[in-house]
Amino acid sequence: MTASQPTPTSPSPAASLLADVHVLDLTAGSAQLAGRLVAELGADVLLLVAGEQAADAGELVAARSGEPVDIGVLRALALNSGKLRAYLDPAAPGAGKRLAGLVPGFDAVIVDDASPWLDLLDPARVAQAGTPVIVAHGFADTGPYAAYRSPDIVTMALGGLLFISGSADRAPCAPPEPIGEYFAAIWASLALASAVWAARTTGTAAVYRISTQEAIATHEHLIRAAAMDGEPIVRNGSQHKSVAPANVFPTKDGWVYIYVSRNHWEPFLRSWDPHPPVYDDARWLPNSVRRADAVALNAAVAGWTQTFTSRDLVTRLQGDGVPCLTVNRPSDFLADDQVVARKLFETVDDPTLGSYAQIRFPAVIDGARPAATLPLRTVELAERELGQVRS
């Protein structure tokens, strides 16, 4: 281990659900989030990277002084926090043999189709030898798109979510981060835990394959609605497809999201004071009636919401039993009373980056949240091959 590298904060023992699990992470794309998720729960995750892929925390130091952020480095550090990292050139002589020698020391291997290691790894053979393998694909390993290039905007498009993203009068709008790939990565983390469970309980070492396109296509009843409701869901901003008012509304100092389903309508009318008397008619109770007249209803509601600050409106409506939350920027979320009270973020000290707020695993386990992890810690592969390093 390199002396100057930080030591990751160990998750609190109570929260370490995967303390005896060891994962070899060969991913190079956004499936790297899967390894971070299990690392947050205490798993020992070794990320094997080619030298030219390596991102270093030092490259972000300037960003703390207002310089432009290197998004590639930022992404690599965000998705790999809590892991160990070792370097190996896949093109180096004997790289495949070294990889094969490493695998039996792990409970599972994860790889994606962006990885340079996929060509050196035969998942079926590795599984046959007793180590389960998780493979994250943009599409799949077979089928007409198997050879297609699959960055997130492409799988979001072919998975159906891009079609319903953004406002109706503009082009479909891509999400701010590759959430389709992240969603597939969560599936990969489930596959990792399941693979270890199956191996330990039944001795079954299998190959688990996740398709990002398929993962995205499970959302929003897209397939069922198209097949059974007579018309596909269309793009309409944040307006809920079957409920109104359920949208973003302006306030004095920003925006809130209000959701008024059938059960909330009468409490909402009491809170919406004064409201146009026409809405007191019982015919407005069904969601479908209000949704059909959403344009006029939303305009009337917006006229009222603009008389409040976001905080006052959230407090008022939630107090009356009506779901309402502020449209936050990430910085607002970080400083939100609820987020602060639950200690979702922890200030960590990194020898390279200094002190900063790091997000922690999104669950409290037996009263304790897993401690925040720090960026990748580099280890010598030779040490790991000798079994000397555990995170």
Binding site: T142, R149, G166, S211, A226, N236, T326, D366
Partner: protein, 398 residues
């Protein structure tokens, strides 16, 4: 199957909790969902179904393979049955508002008294503690609360637009089973159960915005809204094609891909300020205009196919109808056809996970409300027919 022998009791509504149950059932667990017409019906049973609690296709889609038991938890005898049943279960999953199960008499202490190594996974919107724990939340509100709605927008937009979907529900519905299996692994090693508070808002921030959260935590600055542009060195856009609402997403990640695109688009891209990736990136508006002219009178699927065949990442922006006709999704039967009691023929997506050797359960229809009550009480709790009849007559099983 993977979770063979694992029994899971659920108290769930909407998408996040029910879909977690569906996934766990597909992994082989016996998942038993508790509801009651006396208070505690999954809200999705009313979606598009009028007053017939068994005719909602939306409910069925999120509860495939899950057994249904009706127990009135407000009835002392019903509560006792639920406690006895929980004591036979490995896991309890719930996504009611914080404190509801406790007030009904099924709090953590009660569940642990019945089975000390039980694993309880709660999936509240904002968490089970904190000043806003009791707030009502739905997926779209959590998009807004975490920053996703603000960031998911074109840079020049004056209103936070976002997406009408409930990404928080879906991602938490997968993360919860991952946490369940992780807790089972620890229990296998240590014998310890777990009480897990998995907040959907926190899961969304962690799993949908990991880079943004690191950026703001590190720099104090919010990420910019970039719409369809990449924040990296790539060229990227969504371009209108021939027909109504037909679009194709295209991304250029390398000089070779830009060269390939230029070979396809022709002279309009064969100009000095479009030949190099960096210079084209610096002239992104002009790049978009050229590509838009080229795609405008072409079929979106044809654009995708031609570009992909030349190594250029591209995908038609698929509507629901496109998904139904997609040859890749039809591969290995991802799009499933089943006969759902109360609904009729249904078309639903399968799981995005394949396993070789196959150790997943095929999706079974969702159970009719209360269809498994007698069988569960008879076979799991060993109650006799007379005892079950008495409970039913007294209103404990409705």
């Amino acid at each position: 199957v993977i979770l063979d022998g694992i029994r899971i009791l659920t108290f769930t509504t909407g998408i996040a909790g029910p879909n977690a149950g569906r996934i766990l059932a597909s992994l082989g667990a016996e998942v038993i969902k508790i509801e009651s017409v006396a208070g505690g019906i999954d809200a999705f049973r009313y979606f598009g179904a009028g007053n017939d609690l068994n005719s909602s296709a939306r409910f069925a889609e999120a509860n495939l393979g899950v057994r249904s038991v009706t127990i009135n938890l407000k009835d002392p005898a019903g509560l006792a049955v639920a406690r006895d049943l929980a004591a036979t279960c490995d896991v309890v999953v719930e996504n009611y508002r914080p404190g509801v199960l406790g007030r009904l008499g099924l709090g953590d202490d009660v569940l642990q008294a019945g089975r000390p190594d039980i694993i309880v996974v709660k999936m509240p919107g904002l968490g089970s503690s904190g000043p806003m724990k009791g707030y009502g939340t739905w997926g779209a509100l959590l998009n807004a609360y975490t920053g996703l709605t603000y960031l998911w927008n074109h840079p020049d937009a004056t209103v936070p637009v976002g997406n009408q979907g409930v990404f928080p529900d879906y991602l938490t519905s997968v993360l919860a089973p991952m946490v369940v299996v992780s807790a089972l692994l620890r229990r296998r090693s240590t014998g310890a159960g777990a009480i897990i508070d998995l907040a959907q808002s926190e899961a969304t921030a962690f799993c949908a915005l990991p880079v943004s959260m690191l950026e703001v935590g590190l720099t104090g600055e919010d990420p910019p809204r970039v719409g369809n542009r990449s924040r990296g060195p790539e060229l990227q856009g969504v371009y209108r094609c021939l027909g109504d609402e037909r679009w194709c997403a295209i991304r250029i990640e390398s000089q070779a891909q830009l060269d390939a695109l230029r070979g396809i688009v022709g002279p309009a891209l064969d100009v000095d300020d479009m030949r190099g990736l960096d210079v084209a990136r610096a002239n992104h508006d002009a790049f978009d205009a050229i590509v838009s002219v080229w795609t405008a009178d072409r079929d979106a699927a044809a654009v995708m196919t031609e570009l992909q065949e030349h190594g250029v990442p591209a995908g038609l922006v698929a509507s629901g109808d496109d998904l139904l006709a997609d040859p890749q999704l039809d591969r290995l039967g991802f799009i499933r056809h089943l006969d759902q009691p109360g609904v009729g023929p249904m078309v639903v997506p399968g799981l995005p996970l394949t396993i070789e050797p196959p150790i997943l359960s095929e999706p079974a229809p969702a159970a009719l409300l209360g269809a498994d009550t007698d069988d569960v009480l008879r076979t799991i709790l060993s109650l006799g027919e007379d005892e079950i009849a008495t409970l039913r007559d007294n209103g404990a099983l409705r």
